[in-house]
């Protein structure tokens, strides 16, 4: 008898709502400072030209990230979590109040910077990205396996710094595949734009992105 956590009940209802409205929902998790917001700034700006996009972003304090994302012109809302170190489905549901999901093609959800708790909270998204910057060490997938196990795709960020930090690309890939065999891995730089188009093509393709 599987006891559905309260969060899973709300997440399932959200997923149904998203599917009914035809909104593709993509969430991002990472360590603090791995580059979620900078990545989204680029993605929202590029996608907003061709699609109807919006974003939610969670942080313990400040609305700094929402202000940065709002520069893209897309509707953005900040979820201030206070002391909670992850987003929950209920917070997402509350934050969507008054938004017409039928008028959206994409909704991005940036989670609180944390490589642990966010892994256990389904937000109703169709697709979850785990970002991992070249500056934080190639061992993160081995040390924080669950966040990689519960994501669909890994995105290695800040590739423009790879040479400066002596990033060991083979080790990083091997570590990701050790905890999540077959995981799709993208490499990009939100600063230079390198690699961004390859990832965008996967979400703009006609076939739906499965969880």
């Amino acid at each position: 008898q599987k006891v559905l956590k309260q969060n899973d009940v709300v997440a399932r209802a959200l997923r149904q709502r998203f599917n009914d409205a035809g909104v593709r929902v993509i969430s991002l998790v990472s360590s603090p400072g791995s580059g979620k917001t900078m990545f989204l700034e680029r993605v929202l700006t590029l996608l907003a030209k061709r699609h109807r996009v919006a974003a939610l972003v969670g942080d313990l304090a400040t609305d700094n990230d929402a202000q940065r994302l709002a520069r893209s012109g897309a509707p953005v809302r900040q979820i201030v979590t206070g002391t909670v170190c992850h987003l929950e489905a209920q917070m997402v549901q509350d934050a969507l109040e008054g938004w017409d999901l039928d008028s959206l093609d994409y909704l991005f959800i940036e989670n609180v910077g944390n490589l642990v708790c966010p892994a256990s909270y389904d937000l109703g998204e169709a697709h979850r990205l785990v970002l991992f910057s070249v500056t934080e060490g190639e061992d993160k997938p081995l040390k924080y396996p669950t966040i990689f196990n519960t994501a669909d795709v890994a995105v290695i960020t800040k590739m423009d710094l790879a040479a400066a930090v002596g990033f060991d690309r083979a080790a990083a890939h091997a570590n990701i595949l050790a905890v999540r065999p077959g995981m799709q891995i993208f490499e990009l730089s939100a600063k230079t734009g390198e690699g961004l188009e390859e990832w965008l093509q996967t979400i703009e393709s006609p076939q739906p992105v499965s969880a």
Copy 2:
């Protein structure tokens, strides 16, 4: 009537034990990958020449960090927390089993990489460092205020990369002081060794380091 959390009871007892044994206990918190282990590798190697040092390190999985720290020759133990994203005083007490604290001058405790939960768990340490690398963005103190509020000193790491990432030193200092006025801030690179001696002098000075 202040209800002491169970953790606080254990932490108080540990602090008493540390004081009685004359061991100076210093803990480190940060985001994943900010450089706690590399900093400690250097510090243990330098201090082991003149003092009796040991270390405990917490991670969800692997003993990678303990292996790296053990290269210094100091006794090191890994605490594998499984799914718990922070260290607790009880884990520290259990890990110290069989160690003779009277034979130590310094004990370092590296916490799990996480800018949230570790702030609420006293480990009995006399001194807590929050590390913050130049690569993760100058806004971290504003977005994760509690971890800065509960630390004694801030250490800005990876200063050798400051120019490459366009690190805004003034903004970082202003943000730290906004959430923790008067906080002592050190800047260093564990890679080049720059700035390390300045910090070491503060812990090797004759007067005890207060919490």
